[in-house]
């Protein structure tokens, strides 16, 4: 049978499908997103974006309880959100097979931290698989479903950005329909109240012994004996780096990494002269090996503790010579290349709110999404981004501090700056909403801006409850934000066209002036990329332009003032949002038609 190229994410989706998994639940997040997207397109399955990872996992648990196989997908920080059901379903067990994908991001290409999801598997005492390429990703997903039903436990698959987003050759197979596991009422198994949870905890400990046996016999854990003077223990992408850097060395390749196969590790350690353990970003395997009382050989220089591993870094730590292109390094010194960070797209509706908040010198507590780019030049307006939903609750905390200060008669130099929380529509549905309920409950004041671009743009334009489009393309209810906010008890709610500078300015000003209330300003306009918006391109009237730079300071990639003393608009990038036209103090920007 011929092989096809699949990314790790596509392979996990395919593996789940081949294993007879009927439903997928998840919340988008790089590098996990394409898993559920590709699963949703496979024949005969149900798939949905939940509003957040906790809801996704709980829905999957319900699906499993009803007797069917379910896949749950999320990025590593999503596991934090889902950790509450995760820790207890680890006691309760499953009915239909239940597999959770946690996609980690060592190197933080698109995440706020580089936590290692393997720690969750250890914490919850659940089996863990770590594929090293797409073929393994597919095979392990199938094995994970088998194991899940056999031992009645949720199983975690942990990938990393280099596994999820690397395409490798995969042999695919047909789908095997899974027999539903009939649902039977069993209160002690599913009601995790103390009296029932205690025996379930002991049960999970007993299951752990079986899992250890599983790990010892798993074909995914195997020693490749070559030169025995040097041996490496590695899993996932790190296994590939070891093979690249030390093709002659012996390698214990671990694919089922929780529980760790103690006997196999001991036998391998005994069979090699020098033993090295390779991890990236967190010493998960190293800690495990040490816990067995095995002390690996020290590296010539320690492995980097943070960020991605690579074949070169391994060689460097081992003390092998490293190649360099010195000519290239030299020419890079001669030609200083300016950095090229990502920026809000030309015509992005988020831009006006940031420019207006900047004018107001507001303290802007941010959130996670495309709009996090409001922290970068030339906007440099967003002052925090911690986790999804944090803007709203942090804004509340900030206001509480201000209230205490004002009661105590103390003030800081920043006390007269208004505080705004700024949050995207998907993030609002994910966890911003609960912050609003909490603020209203505690009679809090403050200002919230919801950037409603009708999509989850950051992760590639997924639907969400506000856009009213489901993953499999069904039309559904569009959450009415003003109505919801009013129902919660927010009295001051206004909705404006996100591109309309005057309207946004007035709404933000009114919110800031309304000091003893909680105000919400919804800036609404569809994402120009997701909705392919093209209005009449704008042009600069060279006669009227004074080169003041106002338009370039709004941070649109279509506008420049580089070789010339007047602004220039790149008509390939411009999509006619008209923001620059509104900002121009000399009326020098018009739509092309108007000429």
């Amino acid at each position: 049978m011929s092989k096809i190229l699949l990314s790790g994410n596509e392979a996990i989706a395919r593996g789940a499908w081949e294993a007879g998994c009927d439903a997928g639940f998840g919340y988008p997040g790089t590098p996990s997103t394409e898993t559920l997207e590709s699963f949703s397109k496979l024949e005969g399955v149900y798939a949905e974006w939940a509003i957040n990872e906790k809801v996704a996992l709980e829905s999957a648990i319900g699906f499993s309880m009803a007797g069917h196989r379910a896949l749950v997908t999320m990025k590593h920080v999503g596991v934090n959100v889902a950790s509450d059901p995760l820790m207890s379903i680890a006691y309760a067990g499953v009915n239909g097979g239940l597999v959770i994908l946690a996609a980690d991001d060592p190197g933080m290409f698109s995440s706020q931290n580089e936590q290692d999801s393997r720690v969750y598997a250890e914490f919850a005492k659940i089996p863990l698989f770590e594929p090293a390429d797409s073929e393994e990703a597919l095979e392990m997903t199938k094995a994970a479903f088998e194991l899940s039903e056999k031992l009645k436990t949720i199983v975690m698959i942990r990938s990393t950005v280099r596994i999820s987003h690397t395409k490798t050759l995969v042999e695919t197979h047909d789908r095997q329909a899974a027999q539903p596991v009939p649902y039977q009422t069993s209160i002690p198994d599913w009601v995790m109240m103390p009296a029932y949870a205690r025996p379930k905890r002991l049960e999970s400990d007993k299951r752990f012994a079986e899992l250890e046996e599983c790990s010892e016999t798993s074909l995914f854990n195997h020693a490749e004996i070559r030169d025995t003077s040097i041996g490496f223990i590695a899993s996932g992408a790190c296994y590939q780096y070891v093979r690249e850097a030390f093709p002659e060395a012996s390698t214990l390749k671990l694919g089922m990494t929780h529980p760790l196969p103690e006997s196999k590790i001991r036998a391998f350690a005994d069979s090699v002269d020098e033993l090295y353990v390779v991890d990236e970003a967190y010493p998960y395997l190293l800690k495990g090996v040490r816990a067995f009382g095995i002390e690996p050989t020290p590296w010539t220089s320690p492995l980097p503790a943070a960020f991605e591993m690579s074949a070169m870094l391994l060689k460097e730590s081992y003390g092998s010579p490293i190649e360099q292109n010195t000519t290239a390094l030299e020419l890079q010194k001669q030609v200083a290349v300016p950095p090229r960070p990502p920026a809000l797209c030309a015509g992005c509706p988020h831009r006006v709110a940031f420019n207006e908040l900047k004018r107001m010198k507001a303290i802007v507590l941010g959130d996670i999404g495309c709009y996090t780019l409001g922290a970068l030049a030339p906007l440099t307006t967003l002052e925090s981004a911690i986790d999804m939903g944090a803007s709203v609750s942090m804004g509340h905390g900030f206001e509480v501090a201000r209230e205490l200060e004002s009661k105590a008669g103390v003030s800081q130099s920043t006390s007269n700056r208004p505080v705004f929380s700024i949050i995207g529509d998907s993030t609002f549905a994910h966890s911003g909403l609960s912050g609003v309920v909490s603020t209203v409950y505690n009679a809090g004041v403050g200002n919230i801006v919801i950037l409603d671009n009708r999509t989850t743009a950051m992760t590639g334009g997924q639907g969400n409850p506000i856009s009213g489009k489901t993953l499999q393309g069904r039309q559904t209810n569009e959450l009415d934000l003003p109505k919801v906010l009013k129902a919660i008890g927010v009295e001051d709610v206004v909705q404006v066209d996100a591109h309309n500078v005057k309207a946004v300015r007035e709404a933000l000003k009114a919110a800031a002036n309304n000091k003893d209330k909680l105000s919400v300003v919804i800036c609404q306009a569809p994402c120009v990329v997701e909705y392919r918006i093209h209005n009449t391109v704008r042009v600069v009237d060279a006669e009227a332009c004074r080169g003041c730079g106002t338009c370039t300071r709004i941070g649109c990639p279509a506008i420049s003032m580089y070789d010339t003393n007047i602004a220039e608009i790149n008509d390939k990038l411009c999509n006619g949002c008209s923001q620059c036209e509104q900002y121009c103090p000399f009326n020098a920007i018009h739509s092309k038609e108007g000429e």
């Binding site: 290239a328 030299e330 809000l344 590639g460 370039t552």
Partner: protein, 202 residues
């Protein structure tokens, strides 16, 4: 450049770099399929996410009898295909000492330059030439693509240039392009590929 003899022992590493939205990922995919068609093991590694919003992007394709690492370490790329001049300089240290770099002769200004905070560096062509007279090819892929029929096929034209240095058969390339490009623009893409291939051979 001796990719043909190397391929049996060590995989060939091709790095494609540019600016988000330039079509590096499609080009990488076409290359990977061509390698697959010729029976090689292949890995394609790309970074999504924040990089999509007009930031610098890079994708690595590695192929050979057996491919382990999916990324390109410094001084390991047999070939770099840069879709833009600044990105060619930014990634030049990934090129092997005897590697070959193919550069699209266009400049896309980063935000810091657009707003006047930073200046575009001068002398990029000359600097890149230091990598070796026979190691650098700089040309306007869009112009070649336009001449061949459709300026939007610049990314495939760049692949045509790289093809000259890669041990992949013409059939493998054509099959790859046919399998991925919709019929409407297939002819234009094939024409751009051939135009660039022949240009370099000439």
């Amino acid at each position: 450049m001796s990719c043909d003899t190397a391929v049996n022992e060590k995989p060939i590493t091709v790095m494609l770099c540019g600016v988000g939205g330039q079509g590096t990922i499609t080009a990488a995919d076409l290359l990977a399929r061509a390698a697959m068609n010729d029976g090689y093991d292949v890995k394609v590694s790309e970074i999504h996410g924040m990089a999509q919003r007009g930031g610098a992007v890079s994708t690595t394709v590695r192929f050979g009898k057996n491919v382990s690492s999916m990324v390109c370490d410094p001084a390991q790329a047999d070939i770099i295909i840069s879709f833009e001049l600044l990105e060619a300089v930014r990634n030049a240290h990934y090129l092997k000492n005897d590697g070959h770099i193919i550069v699209n002769d266009i400049q896309i200004k980063p935000m810091s330059v657009l707003t006047g905070q930073a200046k575009m560096p001068q002398g990029i062509h000359e600097a890149l030439k230091q990598l070796g007279e026979h190691s650098v090819d700089i040309f306007d892929a869009e112009a070649v693509a336009r001449e061949a029929g459709n300026p939007k096929t610049a990314n495939v034209a760049l692949l045509g240039a790289a093809a000259k240095f890669l041990p992949l058969s013409e059939k493998a390339w054509e099959k790859s392009i046919e399998s991925r490009i919709p019929p409407k623009t297939l002819e234009a893409n094939l024409a751009a590929f051939r135009a660039m291939y022949n240009k370099l051979n000439a």
